[in-house]
Structures are given as structure tokens and as C-alpha cells.
């Protein structure tokens, strides 16, 4: 009988794989093409029939077929129209240099009627809300009010709730808006008018209206950052564009610069689920640290509370059209931004970038408009 086999009891890892070093291993030349074909076949949205009213929940994953066809046609026209035009001839802006490298910055300025928040009224309303104190629900509040505890200030005399009431009052009088939002958010829904009202504790110059355009739904580069800020009473939209993927870090640094102020507050549309995690992810990707905790107003939450069931769609483009009558010309669906940008990357033709920049700019403007409208409806000074 033959006994060839013994369990291997020793193993020395190859210093270099003998076989592999004998000849440069040939990589089949079609591997790159194979992956490219495979990845291009993966679309992160689906095209659906126009007027499919069953698919109008808030979701980024569909595009109406008429929009799709229009956008594809537009892409072809743009490539033709901008053929041979160099980047500086199409866009006027500046190169930004920072520790992340270089990127391209565009700036535009827009008129914006701001809302003054009736802070006193807000304060009164908050003080009258006993449920902000831990342990007090609706029923207890009714009972307490019947017994004469009308405001949080009265509650300071209450034997049981005294301590907690003190904490809430301290927070309201000395805390910053983030603390107040956290306090309210703990006891109420994140879309509660008080949370929105906390914006009133800020100066208009503190807000940064942020919107990003990306190459995909997750773990892809952010190719355009739009940051709106109030400068001299007007809305200035700063956009940081990647002329190539290598400029992403510079654009990240430039964008974060707007959020560096002591009292900065962020305003986004669906930023809680998209823009913020995406930013965090990209910072982690480059090992650039984490995002500082700053007050964040997600306008989608407030819009849902205000218009759900009243308007057919809660997409930003639908809201701006219904409420402000804004009709975008030559806009492209946000989901199709990646393929426009890829067309630019592959050909160097700047045409496909034009609608991306317009789209992003309009998103920032509409976001600011919507924010002020919601604020005014709740706490505007009439």
C-alpha cells in the first residue's frame, strides 16, 4: 500500500511566488473593458413611465421616461455645441488652492428676501410647552396646567419637576441653537416647528445652504459642492467643481471652510440621509477626519410635515415649482448627473458640465427659498 500523504506540519510562505516570478504574469487585456462594461450596465436609477403616480414617494431611484429621453438628447446637443471649447472659455471662475490641493470655484449672487423670525413669540411658545421636561407627557401637562403651572418658569416651583425644568430653562437662555434643537428633538419629532424655529437663534449669515452632486449613490467621489451663504444681504452661491477626480480633497477643504464659523449652521434638503453621511464617508475615505457637530436643519423634514398629502411630490424641483412657480429650463434629473459628468471625464468636452452646475446652483437657491418660506409660515414677523 502506498502512503504518500502526510499532513503538512510546516509551511514556509513563499518569499515571492516562484511560479509567478518566472514570467511576468499576463493580464488578459480585456479585464479593464470587462469591468467597465459590467459597471456601466449597473444603473442606480430606473426609468419609469410618465405619470406613474404610484411612484411619487420620496426616492432618488427613478426618472420619468420623458425626462430621461430629454436629458439624453440634451447631452448629445451639449457635446456638439461645446466641441473644442476650452474650460476657461466656458466657465469663469477661480482656481482655489488649499492644503487639499487645487479645485475650481464659481461664484454667483442672487436676490433673496429674508425672513425675520419672531423670536419672542417662539420663546413664549417654547416656555409654554411643559412636555419638554422629561417625565411630562400630554396628560401630565394638562393636569399641571389645570393646577396653575402654565409655563416652564412656573414649573421651577414644582417639587418633582423642579430640577428638570431648571435644566430646560438654562438651555433655552444660555445654550446655542444646536443644544436647543437637541433638547427639542429629544422630546418631539425632528420636524417639530420648534426645531425649525431654533433657526431664529441664528443670524442669517450663520446659515450655509449645502447641496452636493456625486458620481453615484454611495462611496463615489463628490464632483460638485454648492454652498450658499448670505453676503451683503444677498445669497452668494459658491460652487467647487472637480475638473478631475483628483481635485475632490481640495473641494472638500474649501466647502468645510464655509462651515468653520463658531455659529455656523447647516441647511440641506435630505442632508440627514444623503449629503451628511456622504460627506463623512468621503472625509473617512481620504483619512481627513470627521465632520464637526453643528446645527443642521433638514428642510425635507419640515417640508414633509407641512406639505405631505397636500402636494403630489416632495422632490425639491416639484416643491419649488408648486410654491414659487420656478420652472427650470434645460435641467437634468439629479440621478443622471453621474453620466453627464462621466461624459465630460471621458471626452474632456465641458458641455455636459453646464447643466450640472446650473442644476446644483438652482438646488441651493431653492433650498434657501424654501427654508425661509417655512420659517416665515411658522414664526415670521407679520
Amino acid at each position: 500500500m502506498l502512503h504518500f500523504h502526510a499532513t503538512q506540519r510546516e509551511f514556509k510562505p513563499p518569499v515571492r511566488d516562484v511560479i509567478l516570478t518566472m514570467a511576468a504574469v499576463q493580464t488578459p487585456a480585456r479585464i479593464g473593458a470587462l469591468w467597465q462594461q459590467r459597471i456601466e450596465a449597473m444603473r442606480e436609477y430606473e426609468v419609469i413611465r410618465d405619470g406613474n403616480i404610484f411612484r411619487t414617494s420620496f426616492s432618488n431611484s427613478y426618472v420619468y421616461s420623458s425626462e430621461y429621453d430629454r436629458a439624453r438628447g440634451q447631452l448629445e446637443r451639449l457635446v456638439e455645441q461645446y466641441q473644442g471649447m476650452p474650460f476657461p472659455a466656458v466657465f469663469s471662475g477661480d482656481e482655489v488652492t488649499n492644503e487639499g490641493g487645487v479645485c475650481f470655484s464659481l461664484r454667483s449672487s442672487h436676490r433673496l428676501t429674508q425672513t425675520a423670525v419672531d423670536v419672542d413669540r417662539l420663546r413664549c411658545e417654547i416656555l409654554a410647552d411643559l412636555t419638554l421636561v422629561r417625565g411630562i407627557g400630554e396628560t401630565t401637562q394638562r393636569r399641571l396646567k389645570a393646577r396653575g403651572y402654565q409655563t416652564l418658569l412656573d414649573l421651577v416651583k414644582h417639587p418633582k419637576f423642579r430640577l428638570h425644568a431648571h435644566r430646560v430653562i438654562d438651555c433655552l437662555s444660555t445654550g446655542n441653537s444646536a443644544d436647543i434643537m437637541d433638547l427639542i428633538g429629544c422630546r418631539h419629532a425632528k420636524s417639530h416647528p420648534f426645531v425649525l424655529g431654533a433657526a431664529g437663534f441664528h443670524e442669517p449669515e450663520d446659515y450655509v445652504y449645502l447641496d452636493i452632486e456625486t458620481l453615484g449613490l454611495f462611496s463615489h467621489p463628490i464632483i460638485l459642492f454648492g454652498a450658499g451663504v448670505i453676503e451683503n444681504g444677498r445669497l452668494a452661491v459658491h460652487q467647487y467643481l472637480l475638473r478631475d477626480i483628483g481635485e475632490e480633497q481640495a473641494a472638500l477643504v474649501a466647502t468645510l471652510g464655509h462651515l468653520a464659523g463658531d455659529r455656523s449652521a447647516l441647511v440641506t434638503f435630505n442632508g440627514t440621509s444623503f449629503d451628511l453621511p456622504y460627506l463623512r464617508d468621503r472625509l473617512a475615505y481620504y483619512g481627513m477626519g470627521t465632520l464637526r457637530h453643528i446645527p443642521h436643519f433638514d428642510v425635507l423634514y419640515f417640508s414633509r410635515r407641512r406639505w405631505r398629502g397636500r402636494l403630489p411630490s416632495l422632490r425639491l424641483t416639484a416643491l419649488e415649482q408648486e410654491i414659487f412657480g420656478i420652472r427650470r429650463r434645460d435641467d437634468i434629473p439629479g440621478q443622471m448627473v453621474p453620466e453627464f459628468y462621466e461624459a465630460y471625464l471621458q471626452t474632456g468636452n465641458c458641455g455636459p458640465l453646464v447643466p450640472i452646475i446650473q442644476h446644483n446652483r438652482q438646488d441651493v437657491i431653492s433650498l434657501a427659498l424654501l427654508f425661509f418660506r417655512l420659517l416665515e409660515e411658522s414664526y415670521g414677523c407679520s
Binding site: M1, F4, I31, L215, S219, E248
Partner: protein
């Protein structure tokens, strides 16, 4: 002693006696206990005392090594207490180091659930704040954050990990404190799947390094021939081996039973299985029977019940079939009835090595060699209650591997033969994980090359030229449109996939090669034991439409194989025969298919399919010039001999290299290429190669010798399915010449080889004269 009675009966009964070709009796073994280098934390000692556990020698060895900071692979048999051997040091470390974390990877949900229960009990008793939790596709979104934050042992599976890694920003707390990665049932990660897992682990380690941790790896596997090499390839780490089992065993009789002892086989393997099952049950042995397919499990059950009814109706109801897909209540009922003794016999498919908690039984019948020694041992391991005598029977089929063991029992009971293969150099697999890695952190040539190996530079260039990754100051950044992790499937090679649809329902997906082979138009296709007929194959939309059918015929494709040697990478001489290993390009052209009833061809249909061309790795040998002369002068067919040798070698590849014979392809020609020399090729049947031919190249002498023995010792006259006939032959087993095969193979195993290259010689440990 019921077992002894049944064994005695097998020896006495005239029908059985002829078929029992070997009985291997293992004497009982007493437990061997070990000592620990340093005492365990009090809570853990109390836990062991409470459960009356004294640690066996191998458990102590594993614990000592792990606590000393080594990477460890434990290969002791099923039910030897491997789980405890790694849970103890992990708990110890988590108790001592408050932020420390551990990740446990399991291949199936059932195993993950079992482990969760064990860990929860241990955590509860010891009071060590571990908070074990499963994090997989079924974990609700609402719980995920808390698990990442609080659970210090996270149980998951490779599929989940693949999709979790891109979200590493959320996993920072875990990754920065990850101290252990436990990979249980690691032998399952072999072949294409294993190679994906190896690269997935490289991605995990790459992220751990980014977050500042360097976890220790603990692997637990079935017995393998190459545990250390396997562990190294899978994890990229050198591991310490723990393989000396200290747990006690009762006496065990292992019977090799050959229905084809006479080369004919009056009754089928399944009929014989049924008879054996009845004999065991009548001898009052609780018996578990494993069959090759679901259908067979049910047939054997029905037959056994019918026969039993004649003698005792009560006995008939004591036999049941068990298959995957039973509801939990049904499973619990079977488990309960086995415990109470109401059930005597359970017939199950091979697939069920796990998932049913029935503890151990008196006897196990394995109907047909399950394909790997690992499976055979695991199945046989189900027999034997605490210290009691047990019985295991392997009933052979008319397959080369089964018959080889029947004629060479020593090979079955000797040390493990199987090398588990993990190939970290398949360019298709490596490139996919490089894309995923680039989407996780920018790829940096200087630090990432070691993770992805020699192919890194050329593949990076390939991916960059397609625009999927782009260069930045911080490295190469993923810039593809879709999610990279979505484009990489852990169980396949990047290739076109076909969808098999039945009545608008997705039955399964298969790659192009498998689709052409098994699901061409007109094919009778098997899916989970059921037959389907292929109505139509659409090459444009990659859709195959099938319908359920119940026919008494089957189909077999005919193909022409062409092969071109791209580059010879290594050569050796075995018994003065030139052998080589290298890159080849294979073109497979399916030309038609035969329709067969039993073994008779009842029809022949042409097929028009485009040729399949792929690069892969192969070994080949060139028989000496005089081989042909010897054959022709003896009146033998040389071409038939080469063809037979090819089949025999492919049939015995799984004995040495853990794989399925479908994972390998072959080509033999009396006049190959420009030189017009005879040649036999054996190649990996998947794009890019997966290390099978490469491993076999190092074991050629053993492979040739066993193949020669197989054909030489087969009692048939002109070749049969037990030796040189191949069920997958694309030439319908034409031409074949058994005598010529024996002559050619015999010439290959007169002397072991000496690798002419720098590689070390593949010298066998012991060679008997």
C-alpha cells in the same frame, strides 16, 4: 451490543459478505487533558466548572497559542470542542481589554445562529460584557447602529462583510479595536469562493491597518492535507497548527461496501442502501443515511418503508426523509422523535451536514462518496454517542473515486489527501477586489501592492485605462458609476451571467460556460433534483427559458476543445516523461448533444453556439516517443489510451486537490500542435485559473500513480464508468482503450519527478516498493 451484532451480520450474510470489502475498526480512545500556560480569568474558570468541562489537550494548546498572540488554525474533528477552544481566549481578552472587539465569520445562517446561542450563554454566565450579536442582511436597520456601538463580538458572514466594508466610516470604532477575526468552518472557503474570501480578508486587513488595528486570526477547519498553506493563502498570515485531538472516542467500525465488487453490480447503490438501512434498523440501531440527491433520499425512504411494512408496520413509521426546506416545526419534531426513540431511521441529502440538531446516532450510511473526504468524515462523524460503539458504512457507486477507495481502502483511512485550494492570483477575482478596495480607501501602489500580489501593477493599469479608477495625489480613486461591491459576486468569476427562468420565475443564474454546457436548447437540466427541459436560450438578453418535465431520458453535450499554449511557466520530468505547467488558451465549441435513455443513444441534435474562449492554467505531459510504438505493436489504440489516461487523471484529481471534477477540463491528442507530439492536458475550467492545475502539478507523481491503480485494478474488461468512462466527456467517451490507458499511465509512475526549475521537488513522504 447492537452495533457488534449488525457488524457480525454483515460478515455472515452471504449477500453482504461479498460486498463488504473492508472493515476498519478504530479502538476507543480515552480523553487526554491539557494544561494552560497561565490561569484563566475567574469567571471563565467558574463557567467551565459549572458545566463540568475539563479542557482537552488540543483545547489547551489552542488557548495557549492564541493567548500568546499567534494566528491559529484548529483542525481537530467535528465535535471535539473547537468552538470552546477559541471562545475562551476571546472572552478572556475581551474581559481584560474593555474596548476590544472580535468578528466571527460563518458561512451559513444556521451556524451563525448556533454560535450566537453559545456566546450568549457564555456571556450571561461569565458576566463579561460581550453583547454578542448577528449582523447580516436580516438585521433590521434600527438595530445596526447599536450593534456597531455596543456588541463586542459581531457574528457575520462573508457576503455581509463584502457590503459592509465600503461603509467603514461607520465601523471606525469596531475596526480600530478589532483584535480577533474568527473564521469557523474555513474549509468551505475554497476554490473560486475561497479565493474571493481571501481577497475580502485582504480588504478587511487593509482597513484595519488604516484604523490602526492588526487583528489575530483564528481558523477552524475540517482535516486537510495542507492546513498551514491553506490558512496562509486565505488570511495572508502564517498560522500555528493545532491538530492533535484530545477528545475521547468510542469504538468505531467503518465498513466499505461495494455493490460493484464483481464489476457488474446486480443491484443499484440505492437498493443496497435501502437494504443496509433496514438491516441497521432491524438491529435496533438509530441510523442516519446520506444520499446524493433529494430525490434519492425520498426514494430510499419509500422503498425502506414498503419493505419494513411487510415485517412490522410500526417499523415503517419509524423511517423518515429529511431535506432542506422543512419548516422549523417539522425539524423540531424529527429531532424530538429521534430523542424519544420513535424514529429509527432518517434519510437525508448530502447537503445536510448541518442544520439538524440530532446529536449523534448509532450508525451512519453514506450512499455514494460525497465528493470530498471532508464531507465523508463529517458525515461519518455523526455516528458515535459518548463512548459507545458506532458504525459507519460507505456504499460505493460506479464512480472512479468510489471504486478507487473500494480497491484501495488504505487510501481512504490514511492521513488526509485533500489540498484545499485558495488562489490569490486569478486576475479576474483580484481585479474585482481591487476595485472594491479603491472605493473603500484610495489605492496606493507602495502600500497596497502586498495585499493584491504580483498582478497588482498590471491590473491597476488595466482598471485605470478603463477609467474605473483615477489617479489623485492621495492614490487611485474609484470613479466608476455603480457601486464596486455590487459588481463583484463572491461566488463567481467576472463573466456574463445567464438567468434561468421557469414560468417567469427566476430559477437560478449561471455563467456562460455552465449555461452552454447544461442549459443549451433542448437540454434536460437538473435543479435541486428536479428535471427541467430547456425551451430556449436567448444569447442577446442572456435568458434561458425552461419548463418542468418528467422524462426518462437525459442529454449530454458534445464539444470540441482546442487549446494553445501561451506560456510554459514550469517543467518537470516524472518517470522520464516531460511534464509542464503554464498559461493556455482554451476554446470550447459545443457542436451538438446526444439524447440518451440509460446508456443508449436515442438521438443526436446539432447545436449552433458561439465558441467559448478563455485563458486559464494547465498542466500537461508528453508521453515518450516509444509509447505509441508499444501500443500499436500490442494491437492497442494509442489515441484511446491517451483519452482514457486523461479521464482517469481528471477523475482522481479530487482525491488530491479539493475540487469537483466539473471544475477541471481536459484535452488529449496523439498529434498536438506544430510538433505533432502526443499530449494530454488538464486545465482549470474557469477563466483565469483557480490554482487546481497548479497544485496538481506539484503532486503529479501521486496523481499518476493513483490514476494508474484505478484503471489497473478495475475488474471491468474494456473500461467502465468506474474507471475511464467520463459522464462529462464531450466526445461521448470515444475513443477509449483500457489496456492502452494502463500502459500509458504505468509508464508515468515508475519514478517520482525532479522539478527542473528552482521550485522544490514534489517528493512523496513514503514510498512503498
Amino acid at each position: 451490543m447492537a452495533v457488534a451484532d449488525v457488524v457480525g451480520f454483515l460478515h455472515k450474510n452471504p449477500d453482504y459478505r461479498k460486498r463488504v470489502v473492508h472493515v476498519e475498526t478504530t479502538e476507543p480512545e480515552r480523553p487526554r487533558y491539557g494544561t494552560l500556560d497561565t490561569p484563566l480569568p475567574e469567571a471563565i474558570t467558574a463557567y467551565l466548572d459549572k458545566n463540568g468541562i475539563q479542557l482537552y489537550s488540543h483545547q489547551c494548546a489552542a488557548i495557549n497559542l492564541i493567548r500568546a498572540g499567534h494566528h491559529v488554525i484548529i483542525t481537530t474533528p467535528t465535535a471535539s470542542g473547537k468552538t470552546l477552544a477559541f471562545n475562551i481566549p476571546v472572552f478572556g481578552q475581551l474581559a481584560a481589554d474593555a474596548p476590544a472587539r472580535a468578528l466571527y465569520l460563518y458561512p451559513t445562517k444556521a451556524l451563525a445562529n448556533d454560535q450566537l446561542v453559545t456566546l450568549q450563554q457564555m456571556a450571561q454566565f461569565t458576566g463579561i460584557p460581550v453583547k454578542p450579536a448577528i449582523y447580516d442582511g436580516d438585521t433590521p436597520q434600527s438595530k445596526r447602529g447599536m450593534i456597531r456601538k455596543n456588541s463586542r463580538i459581531i457574528i457575520s458572514n462573508p457576503y455581509e462583510l463584502h457590503h459592509v466594508l465600503p461603509w467603514h466610516a461607520k465601523w471606525g470604532d469596531v475596526l480600530s479595536e478589532l483584535q480577533f477575526v474568527v473564521i469557523d468552518e474555513a474549509h468551505r472557503y475554497r476554490g473560486v469562493f475561497g479565493s474571493h474570501i481571501a481577497l475580502l480578508i485582504r480588504r478587511l486587513v487593509r482597513l484595519c491597518r488604516h484604523y490602526g488595528s492588526d487583528p489575530q486570526f483564528i481558523l477552524s477547519t475540517a482535516t486537510l492535507a495542507n492546513p498551514l498553506e491553506f490558512a496562509y493563502r486565505l488570511t495572508g498570515r502564517q498560522c500555528e497548527l493545532v491538530d492533535e485531538d484530545g477528545s475521547p472516542h468510542g469504538r468505531k467500525h467503518f465498513v466499505l461496501f461495494n455493490p460493484f465488487f464483481d464489476g457488474i453490480g446486480e443491484r443499484s447503490t440505492h437498493q443496497e442502501t435501502k437494504d443496509l438501512l433496514l438491516s441497521c434498523i432491524q438491529g435496533d440501531l438509530q441510523t442516519l443515511c446520506f444520499t446524493g440527491s433529494r430525490k434519492m433520499a425520498e426514494l430510499v425512504t419509500v422503498w425502506a418503508r414498503e419493505d419494513a411494512r411487510r415485517s412490522s408496520p410500526r417499523l415503517a413509521t419509524a423511517i423518515t426523509a429529511y431535506r432542506a426546506g422543512y419548516l422549523p416545526e417539522e425539524r423540531r419534531m424529527i429531532e424530538r422523535h429521534l430523542k424519544t426513540g420513535e424514529l429509527k431511521g432518517v434519510v437525508s441529502t448530502n447537503a445536510l451536514e448541518l442544520g439538524l440538531d440530532i446529536g449523534s446516532l448509532d450508525a451512519v450510511i453514506i450512499s455514494g462518496y460525497p465528493g470530498t473526504m471532508v464531507s465523508a468524515r463529517q458525515q461519518a462523524g455523526r455516528a458515535g454517542r459518548k463512548g459507545d460503539t458506532s458504525l459507519a458504512i460507505l456504499v460505493a457507486q460506479a464512480d472512479p473515486l468510489d471504486q478507487y477507495f473500494m480497491h484501495h481502502p488504505g487510501q481512504f483511512f490514511s492521513r488526509p489527501h485533500e489540498h484545499a485550494i485558495v488562489d490569490t492570483a486569478n486576475p479576474y477575482i483580484v481585479s474585482g477586489h481591487m476595485l472594491c478596495a479603491a472605493a473603500e480607501l484610495p489605492l496606493r501602489d507602495e502600500t497596497d501592492q502586498p495585499f493584491f500580489g504580483q498582478l497588482y501593477d498590471s491590473l491597476r493599469r488595466e482598471l485605470a485605462s478603463g477609467g474605473l479608477i483615477r489617479q489623485t495625489a492621495r492614490g487611485w480613486v474609484y470613479a466608476g458609476r455603480g457601486r464596486a461591491a455590487d459588481a463583484v459576486r463572491l461566488d463567481g468569476i467576472a463573466a456574463e451571467t445567464f438567468r434561468v427562468m421557469c414560468n417567469g420565475r427566476l430559477l437560478e443564474t449561471m455563467d456562460r460556460a455552465q449555461a452552454f454546457r447544461e442549459a443549451h436548447k433542448g437540454a434536460i437540466m437538473l435543479h435541486q433534483g428536479e428535471s427541467y427541459i430547456v425551451r430556449d436560450m436567448d444569447l442577446e438578453t442572456h435568458t434561458i427559458r425552461v419548463a418542468e418535465t418528467d422524462v426518462d431520458y437525459y442529454t449530454q453535450p458534445l464539444k470540441e476543445v482546442n487549446l494553445a499554449i501561451i506560456e510554459t511557466l514550469d517543467t518537470t520530468t516524472i518517470s522520464s516523461v516531460k511534464c509542464a505547467f503554464g498559461d493556455v488558451e482554451v476554446t470550447e465549441q459545443y457542436t451538438g448533444y446526444t439524447i440518451k435513455r440509460r446508456d443508449t443513444i436515442i438521438g443526436l441534435e446539432p447545436l449552433s453556439l458561439p465558441p467559448l474562449t478563455f485563458r486559464t492554467k494547465a498542466f500537461w505531459f508528453v508521453p515518450p516517443a516509444d509509447a505509441e510504438e508499444k501500443c500499436t505493436s500490442a494491437g492497442l489504440d494509442f489515441a484511446g489510451g491517451l483519452h482514457g489516461a486523461e479521464h482517469a487523471i481528471i477523475a482522481l484529481m479530487p482525491l488530491h486537490v479539493m475540487c469537483d471534477r466539473w471544475d477541471i477540463g481536459g484535452l488529449s491528442s496523439p498529434r498536438f500542435g506544430d510538433a505533432g507530439e502526443p499530449a494530454v492536458f488538464v486545465y482549470d475550467a474557469c477563466e483565469g485559473g483557480i490554482g487546481l492545475a497548479e497544485k496538481a502539478f506539484g503532486l503529479l507523481f501521486q496523481l499518476f500513480t493513483t490514476s494508474h491503480e484505478l484503471v489497473r485494478d478495475c475488474p471491468c474488461e474494456k473500461g467502465c464508468p468506474s474507471c475511464i468512462y467520463s459522464p462529462k466527456c464531450g466526445n461521448d467517451n470515444q475513443p477509449l482503450d483500457k489496456e492502452a490507458t494502463v500502459l500509458i499511465l504505468g509508464g508515468l509512475c515508475t519514478a517520482p519527478g525532479q522539478r527542473e526549475s528552482t521550485g522544490s521537488p514534489a517528493r512523496p513522504e513514503k514510498v512503498a516498493p
